[in-house]
């Protein structure tokens, strides 16, 4: 699987190198985030909280397309809505995107979350203290430019992922349902054990992401992003989470040819 990722990434990078360059930028994002979470398998109580966002990336744009890679991380501390217990949330993500210019200010294409690791640590719990959803998602993406604004919309098409916790135990639901549980099987606890990954599409696995960015100057821009994910590996017991971030982007370099 790792090989497949590298090959696809190589071809994506090679393809866009063929295009004439117009603008390229290497940037860093820093800001704040707000996240919320609910796992109905264990409780209907919602968790909400604030934290920080950090990211860096590379973006190229010419008359035909936009492409870029982005590495971002979000860390928040959420508190339960009805009691005082908290959960720490970590969400590092590596993305690559390619969008073709349809009109002067409209781009359509795809974003690939090469690696999306959504991890939580619930204070005070034992076996259920650690929760994570690890995987990769392919999105249909659109970007629309209006004056100094750039609006983005991503719709999750297909996700290949593993949820660490099943209906009643801290092992993936398919591990338990398939009778694969075994303490000598190290893969069960590994977030990167592809054997237990599932391929899910909408509507069972719904993901949407929006963004709005305002260019303040050649160097600075301010952006807002929202990511919603809702899925259920156990029917009628969905996991829902949302992450909002507001960040300042600083272009370490931005060149236009």
């Amino acid at each position: 699987m790792k090989k497949t990722y590298l090959i696809v990434l190589f071809f994506a990078v090679s393809l866009v190198q063929l295009h004439a360059q117009k603008t390229s930028s290497f940037y860093v994002d820093i800001g704040g985030g707000f996240s919320s979470f609910q796992d109905v398998k264990y409780s209907n109580v919602k968790y909400n909280g604030f934290g920080g966002v950090f990211g860096l990336g590379y973006l190229k744009e010419n008359e035909k397309a936009i492409w870029g890679i982005n590495l971002q991380g979000i860390v928040t501390t959420e508190k339960a809505a009805t009691h005082d217990n908290t959960v720490s949330t970590y969400n590092p993500m590596l993305q690559a995107k390619y969008l073709h210019r349809i009109k002067e200010n409209l781009f359509i294409g795809a974003t690939w979350d090469v690696l999306d690791l959504y991890a939580k640590n619930f204070d005070g719990l034992g076996n259920n203290s650690a929760y994570n959803v690890t995987g990769s998602t392919l999105w249909a993406s659109a970007i629309y430019d209006y004056k100094k604004f750039r609006f983005g919309l991503d719709l999750g098409l297909v996700s290949y992922f593993k949820e660490s916790t099943g209906f009643a135990f801290s092992a993936s639901q398919n591990v338990l349902e398939n009778g694969d549980f075994d303490y000598q099987n190290d893969k069960i606890d590994s977030p990167f054990a592809f054997k237990y990954y599932e391929l899910r599409t909408i509507p069972r696995h719904f993901q949407v992401r929006t963004s709005i960015r305002y260019q303040l100057s050649n160097r600075f821009s301010v952006g807002y992003k929202w990511h919603l994910r809702k899925f259920s590996e156990v029917k009628k017991y969905p996991v829902t989470y949302g992450i909002h971030s507001l960040s300042i982007r600083y272009n370490i370099f931005k060149r236009t040819k």
């Binding site: 707000f34 919320s36 609910q38 109905v40 264990y42 409780s43 209907n44 109580v45 919602k46 339960a80 809505a81 009805t82 009691h83 005082d84 217990n85 005070g124 719990l125 034992g126 076996n127 259920n128 099943g166 209906f167 009643a168 135990f169 801290s170 639901q173 338990l176 349902e177 398939n178 009778g179 694969d180 549980f181 075994d182 303490y183 000598q184 929006t210 709005i212 305002y214 807002y224 929202w226 919603l228 809702k230 156990v234 017991y237 829902t240 989470y241 949302g242 909002h244 507001l246």
Partner: protein, 349 residues
Amino acid sequence: MKYLKIKMGLLLFLVVFSSCEKALMEPNPKTDALAVFDEYTTLVQEKYAMLEFKNVNINTLRSNLRGKINATTTQKEFFEILGEVTKSLRDGHSSLIEDQNNPNGMSISFDLEEGYPVGIDAAILVNNYIGNTVNSEIKTLSGGQGFRAVWGTLPQDRKIGYLWIPSWNVEISDDEIERIFLDLKDTKGLVFDMRTNTGGDPALATKFASYFTNKPIYNGFERFKTGPGPNDFSDSHITLQPSGSANKYLKPVMVLTDRNVYSASTTFLYSVDPVESIKTVGQRTGGGSGSVADGYLANGWYWSLSTSEFIDAQGRHLDDGVDPDIPVVLNLEDTTKDEVIERAIVELQ
């Protein structure tokens, strides 16, 4: 004016989208006593894996207890009513705790030792078998709550090895495990003291178990709750794979047991149970064969429940414990010897 529009636009965008995921979530549950009672009994009904084996009719229990809750019910009374459900499970893995950060808070869990004699006396053990003054050949791995492992030979017979793992809730590296078994390799038999070991990491217990066989052993199956329905179970059949180590211990072993042999220690016992050269000596074990899930109720009270159980190769449900092959009770009046160890030595000689 221009920036005001931008700010207003951004604010509107934030407000609209920040509530979007919440619209897709279930509403927060109520936190009044009846709602929490319903939440807990539903969790037990849907997640607890042994209602039938423990002979618990959750519907009857629910209807009997729910009527006791009214507007005048105090917090303490309510906790006790809810605790009746926990107690009915007779399960050391299932507990209810009011506030984990408050040691004086209310809590309910099953007392494994109630009705059973004491299984081990640390002073007798140290003064006659493993203390430095009586046994200079004992080695230890420090850490945990004292020692992670104690091993060596016994002064009563230097050809008999002794190994005590007080808890599986520690980390013992592969190299450390190798060192232990290398040191014990030349003994003619082993006393594996598992008394007081209430569990921890079952994977570590299984790793130790893998040193006691040179061929795969079918252990039975772990039956997991996989959905809310009464028949939503799935069985994971377990076969213990032998360690690849050259220091496997294939000679006779006496495993010392008491009521605190629980959880991951039960994992160890069922893993090696089919090995004919391994016998248990002491008291009935505590059981705790299942895996545990935990969480918080809407009012913040902590719960834990067994969401699986283990049924061994003989078809025995192990959760209530297993009688030893050789029952021996400790005589606390006689501080010069530990009857359980002495009996194990006799069996190995």
